[in-house]
């Protein structure tokens, strides 16, 4: 439903990109549990990066930051299965989320920043960073601008993003680069 990037897992107050302390670069997502389960998200998490290498700094560590005991238990159980399946050690830390600090604006919706027309229209709708970041339209457009999803899916929902015809065309052109 929504995504945001930021810093988590550390103890330093008010981390920033240039002063991250012991935090890790992280992604946080709001999902609809009736559409996708936490287990499915964990499976995708382990598919999307290589957790069998030990990170050389906390900034780039692999971690699941659980929000409650149910998430912690699911993560521990799946980590066990994932380790067995790969027959390799997995260096994914499982720890409580604690404080998640939103990263600076230029890190948010990074793929969309390459499609200026679309970015500008969304910024006009949502001048405040927090509203821009938490928009489902912005989140989904960012995913398509980065090559996620199919062209058919984009075309089926792009009318609901509130964009002009010109901006829609730019987004479709960007997405199409990944689907040739």
């Amino acid at each position: 439903v929504r995504t945001r990037v930021g810093y988590a897992g550390g103890s330093r107050p008010n981390p920033t990109y240039h002063s991250m302390g012991d935090h890790s670069e992280s992604i946080q997502l709001d999902y609809d549990p009736s559409m996708i389960s936490y287990s499915d998200l964990l499976a995708e998490f382990w598919r999307a990066h290589n957790p069998t290498r030990q990170a050389w700094s906390r900034q780039y560590m692999s971690a699941v930051f659980y929000a409650d005991n149910a998430q912690r238990e699911t993560a521990m159980e799946m980590l066990h299965h994932e380790t067995e399946r790969r027959s390799k050690d997995i260096y994914t830390a499982i720890q409580r989320v604690g404080v998640f600090t939103l990263a600076e604006d230029y890190h948010q919706k990074y793929s969309l920043r390459h499609v200026r027309e679309v970015l500008n229209e969304f910024l006009a709708m949502y001048p405040r960073l927090v509203d821009f970041v938490n928009s489902t339209a912005v989140t989904r457009a960012n995913g398509f601008a980065g090559g996620d999803g199919s062209m058919a899916l984009l075309e089926s929902e792009i009318d609901a993003y509130g964009l002009s015809a010109e901006a829609q065309q730019k987004l479709v052109e960007m997405a199409r680069r990944y689907h040739r």
Partner: protein, 33 residues
């Protein structure tokens, strides 16, 4: 046409997909190395 020095005009229009987005959500947080 927007030029670099032009302020971006704000709009009160909200994308339809945002108006119907589920509110009953859970949150997951990961670091992908």
């Amino acid at each position: 046409m927007l030029f670099k020095h032009d302020p971006i005009p704000s709009s009160t229009e909200r994308p339809p997909i945002d108006l119907t987005a589920p509110q009953n959500v859970e949150t997951a947080t990961f670091a992908l190395g």
